[in-house]
């Protein structure tokens, strides 16, 4: 269970650092944001949702059914687009509206 931080997209704004409920995202000695303890990630995706630059990707460990797809989010007002990119296939996009409640 873990995330990938794409350093080329990251602008070091620090929002993910404050979003992580486990203090796992920190600044390394080179001044870059990094995930200090990848195996301690809970998979809550708080950091993805806080990132304004689509720089954080979430993936499932192979031990719990992961096959290499990467998931990230794109905000558009109250809409949150969840984008899943399989290693060899077309991306799947599921859009959730923050104003509409769960039906189940």
């Amino acid at each position: 269970m873990s995330i990938l931080i794409q350093t080329d997209k990251c602008r070091n704004c620090g929002r993910c650092i404050e979003a992580c409920p486990g203090n796992l995202i920190q600044v390394n000695p080179q001044g870059k944001v990094w995930l200090r303890h990848p195996e301690e990630c809970w998979g809550c995706t708080s950091c993805l949702k806080e990132c304004q630059f689509e720089a954080i990707y979430f993936y499932l460990g192979a031990d719990i059914g992961g096959r290499g797809s990467l998931m990230h989010t794109r905000r558009e007002g109250d809409l949150c687009h969840w984008i899943v990119e399989p290693p060899d296939g077309r991306p799947v996009v599921i859009t959730v509206d923050r104003r509409s409640a769960n039906k189940y």
Partner: protein, 577 residues
């Protein structure tokens, strides 16, 4: 490098900025002139149980039902071992806290009459992906609440048996915090990571309960001599396999039934209580009729789409798992498994022994949410209600709780600081100043954590024994944990992130030791799904009592207490604190 010291004083200190802690702060914010301090080891923005979001409020009193009906339901579900006064007092506030949540911006589904749309008996449907940001933003809008993020509390400060503050350190920089207060509210959450988890490797933290809730709230109280209750009522959640995602959304949302590998519905054989449902799945598998599933094959494509969306708002890994497998829930059943056991007073009755106002047995200390015992099935609204009750009581007690004298606490603070420094002093450094070098420790906190989880799994009823344990096994667990506790005193790190991991381990070890004493003390099997005592396999109604414990002169003593039905108020011995 010596620690930088920060000292602060407040009227009320709240330890933990999660669900109950934020609500206690918001309750106190209504009182101008009162100074409130909240400490949080991460950042209150997303910390605690609500990080990923929730998609239902599980405890709401709908039209036609009363808080007394909820009390009856909880008493049945917990097989009698609850505190009527605590469950009733929180249930009486469920609907008012929901009203305030809606004012803060929580989206709640309504039916055609404008009433909240129900799911099952007590649930209402929400969009709760951002419920924690809504709460934390409200805290930041207050004028008299100061939030100290990234501060991990390690010890209460006490004076003549009264809690008068707390000590901790920054997880970001080498700074120690000594915080004095007239009253302290503990809302530091329950304990995960005591047992070997469902996914012990790379995905070890893919668990139900926050892996960052390490039992610190309990450990603080145990160390300071607070009385604790019902740790032996562990919680085992029945979850979607691998992702450990909730099952209620599938079971209640699309009406999926639990079936074993032969396709038989088995829940009626075990009863519908939370423990009974967990035991059903465990026992069907144990008897060779597993795996067990939620039968979703054949649901509509619209239901497929709604499920994928619903999980994104609280457990996105389950949605991702469906996509990764190439099969939607309509094409494959959802496999079930039980989690590792947790100690969590929001779901069972484990935690601080409190009076109706949420006073603990230590004067000046109050407890709410997952750390508070006696009131299972709190869920979000119960944690909020308890935060409110604890805040109201602390406020009412303040006139009798003067600010402590500084001098009297300095020796305690120095001893705590010395322990921090010892853990950050390399083994080969000769003694200097106040920080004596510790003997060498060959292990890391991660290695000792793994050892602890193995002991608990092997000998204290973990997943691999189908939650079964015996007194002979508990004896071994107790002995091994003593050894690990001794080793943990000598752990070393290089920065306060390491120090956080060391303290989290020490807190978990202490909670494990208490848990073992409680498991041994209840000689029956009351909640088979949460733990099966193989020496005493049945329910015995002479055990309709509470198992409580307290550390007395370094030894954990068990106290059996009769069931409480009416409101109670703790009296404290006179003290000059």
């Amino acid at each position: 490098m010596p620690f930088h010291i920060v000292e602060k004083t407040a009227d009320i200190l709240i330890i933990g900025g999660g669900t109950a802690g934020c609500w206690a702060a918001l309750t106190l914010a209504a009182h101008e002139g009162l100074s409130v301090l909240v400490t949080e080891k991460a950042n209150i923005r997303r910390s605690g149980c609500l990080a990923a979001g929730v998609n239902a409020i599980n405890a709401y009193i709908p039209a036609g039902k009363t808080p007394e009906d909820y009390l009856e339901y909880v008493r049945w579900d917990a097989a009698g071992i609850i505190r009527d006064d605590l469950v009733l007092s929180m249930a009486q506030r469920f609907n008012s806290v929901v009203g305030r949540l809606e004012e803060l911006g929580l989206v709640i589904l309504k039916d055609e009459t404008g009433a909240y749309a129900l799911r099952g008996q007590w649930n209402i449907k929400i969009n709760g992906e951002n419920i924690k940001p809504l709460l934390s933003q409200a805290v930041y809008r207050t004028k008299n609440v100061e939030v100290l993020n990234h501060v991990n509390i390690t010890d209460y400060l006490t004076l003549n048996g009264r809690v008068v503050g707390a000590a901790g350190f920054s997880v970001r920089e080498q700074t120690a915090y000594f915080l004095r207060a007239r009253a302290v509210i503990c809302t530091a959450g329950g304990a995960a990571g005591l047992y070997r988890p469902n996914n012990p490797g790379f995905s070890q933290h893919k668990m139900w309960y926050p892996p960052f809730n390490t039992g610190t709230g309990y450990a603080l109280g145990i160390r300071a001599g607070a009385e604790m209750t019902t740790f032996e009522m562990r919680f085992v959640a029945q979850r979607c396999k691998d992702t450990i995602a909730p099952t209620g959304t599938i079971a209640l949302g699309v009406g999926a039934k639990q079936v074993n590998a032969q396709g038989e519905e088995y829940t009626s054989r075990y009863g519908l209580s939370t423990s009974g449902r967990a035991y059903g799945t465990t026992n069907e598998t144990h008897q060779g009729r597993g795996p067990c599933y939620l039968n979703t094959v054949g649901i509509t494509s619209k239901q497929d789409e709604e499920l994928l969306k619903a999980y994104l708002n609280m457990a996105p890994s389950q949605t991702l798992k469906w996509l990764e497998s190439g099969k939607r829930p309509s094409q494959q059943n959802v496999e079930l498994e039980g989690t590792e056991p947790y100690v969590v007073g929001g779901h069972t009755a484990s935690g601080y022994w409190v009076d109706t106002g949420r006073r603990t047995t230590l004067r000046g200390l109050y407890a709410a949410g997952d750390v508070a015992g006696g009131a299972p099935k709190k869920f979000v609204t119960g944690a909020l209600a308890e935060g409110e009750i604890a805040a109201d009581t602390a406020l009412a007690d303040l006139p009798g709780l003067p600010l402590p004298e500084d001098e009297a606490l300095q020796a305690q603070e120095q001893a705590i600081l010395q322990t921090y420094e010892q853990h950050l002093t390399p083994a080969d450094t000769p003694s200097s100043g106040t920080s004596a070098a510790l003997p060498a420790c060959r292990y890391t906190s991660q290695q000792l954590e793994e050892a602890m989880q193995k002991v608990m799994d092997d000998y204290a009823g973990g997943i691999h024994s189908s939650y079964r344990y015996s007194e002979a096994q508990l004896d071994i667990a107790e002995e091994r944990l003593e050894g690990l506790t001794a080793l943990a005193q000598n752990l070393r790190g290089t920065d306060t992130d390491d120090l956080l991991h060391i303290y989290e381990l020490k807190d978990r070890l202490l909670v494990c030791q208490s848990l073992i004493a409680h498991l041994r003390a209840r000689r029956e099997t009351r909640w088979a799904g949460f733990g099966f005592n193989t020496d005493y396999p049945g329910v015995d109604d002479s055990w309709q009592l509470y198992v409580n414990s307290r550390l007395e002169n370094g030894t954990l003593k068990i106290h059996y207490r009769n069931l409480v039905k009416e409101a109670i108020t703790f009296e404290y011995p006179d003290s000059n604190g």
